[in-house]
Symmetry: C2
């Protein structure tokens, strides 16, 4: 059985590591830019917290990366002093961060040069699903690499029921960008509907019930509606992440010479959240911008 | 059993009349600004096509109105030469058009003056549901009027399962405006997601499947997704209506001094459709604005 390394042990990465240990995999190494986070998880899982990326590669066969953004991907795969591709011949990488399609294509190319293989494993789910191994997992890259990694991916995606092979490198990132773009639009729109309902004195419980029975229904109504009303913005998917992902989608749109007014308005709203200091709130926190009398609140 | 009149026999009004006849009600009179439409339906249902609104009132006990907009409501209830309130003492009106909350309040006041009663019956469903008697029906006005009309309303709303009493006059229109505002945002957002997916060469069937499994899921994905891909914009709910309803919601927002960037962007998109001659398409036709190489097409 392969030795697994995990790079980036935030909310998602740490829970994927726990899940893999639960189902019998050996997670041998973990790494994070915040050494304390890596050490804590290493202790919990009986793994080694590496201080160098090259050590993760040396002590693992399959390395799962869940980092923050394009810049972090660049750093872990092409950092000058230390990176994951040093001594990476024969190693496999599953890159789960939501980053731009170009970055996935670039990383695949770099990895090939040293005889390593990469696969995108874009996740369209959240923390609870990572822990439970029920992630919706969109995979892209070489089909052979996907097949080789299938057993591990299966354990992360409800016995493979929620796993899809999308196409060559970059394609899963495109799909993921579109999923989050549409999700963010629906979220920002819901916040406007509930905010206006509150402003005119409607019973918001009744309003959400009506939304749920009509053309206004959506997944985010279920996941974020109550949180918007109750101002419960404990973070599952941050507003800052939402801004980043809508930004990636708009980058793709710009290249395709497509004007997307809703996505643009949504990007501006989530960007505004980061600008007024609300970027760490859950995406449901966008309601802070649309309910009268709300605004920047204390972080939880 | 009450004699029922129907004013405005477009796609919704005509099917509600058919449904009421199906379940045993007597639809005695119908009226439309297009006399041919009224005559055709009258023939089908064995009713009288009236050329004067006051005649509808005279020959009915309960009058259901399903007209186009605020202006039409003004015309049928306060037209100088001929209107529904002439000789309306003791009559009941169920007003189903999606119009501004203010109009419902005003009409209620006018009706009371002559001893008539009104109820909002805002519908958050479409043509098939009208025909089948499974409308989601949001009612507002005096509670006693609602109770009096309950048997008829029940037959239109899946044996009452989809009927809600919302509050005093104007409140159902507020909820309806919010439902359509959020629905229109989700529709415009979905059109952007699918349009961008098409632009970068993704398999749209796959993309819709992924949307349906993730945070991008919504009711409009089910009702409009395929139509957007297939350019099947046969009209259930027109883009012109969508523009009107988003406009009503923005009017409410303006009064509440609330800035809603998503609703505003959506309004502009649907308004643009009417401006480029696509207002008669179904709301799914908004995809014509977001898919490359599409644009004004022949009406079906």
């Amino acid at each position: 059985m392969e030795r697994i390394g995990v790079v980036g042990v935030g909310r998602m990465g740490a829970n994927m590591a726990r899940r893999l240990v639960d189902v019998g995999y050996r997670v041998t190494t973990v790494y994070d830019v915040r050494p304390a986070a890596a050490q804590e998880l290493a202790k919990e899982l009986g793994a080694t917290a590496c201080s160098r990326l090259a050590d993760v590669t040396a002590q693992s066969d399959v390395i799962i990366t869940v980092v923050v953004d394009d810049k972090s991907m660049e750093a872990i795969f092409a950092g000058k002093k230390d990176n994951l591709l040093q001594g990476a011949k024969g190693k496999f990488f599953i890159n789960c961060a939501t980053v731009s399609p170009e970055t996935h294509v670039k990383v695949e190319k770099l990895a090939k040069k040293v005889g390593a293989r990469t696969l995108e494993g874009c996740m369209a789910s959240s923390i609870n699903q990572a822990r439970a191994g029920t992630l919706y997992l969109m995979c892209a890259g070489e089909k052979a690499t996907f097949e080789k990694l299938r057993p591990i991916l299966t354990k992360l995606s409800d016995d493979g029921k929620l796993m899809r092979y999308i196409g060559p490198a970059g394609k899963a990132a495109q799909v993921k960008a579109l999923v989050n773009m549409v999700m963010n639009i629906n979220t920002a729109g819901l916040a406007e509907g509930l905010g206006l309902g509150a402003a005119v004195g409607l019973d918001l419980k009744m309003l959400m019930e009506v939304f749920s029975q009509t053309g206004a229904n959506s997944r985010v109504l279920v996941t974020d509606g109550e949180d918007m009303v109750n101002r419960d913005h404990a973070c599952f998917f941050s507003a800052a992440h939402a801004a980043k992902d809508s930004g990636i989608a708009l980058g793709v749109a710009k290249k395709a010479k497509l004007n997307l007014p809703l996505a643009t308005a949504t990007y501006k709203q989530f960007k505004k959240m980061t600008q007024v200091g609300l970027g760490d709130l859950d995406k449901s926190g966008i309601a802070e911008l649309t309910f009268k009398g709300r605004g920047p609140i204390k972080k939880r």
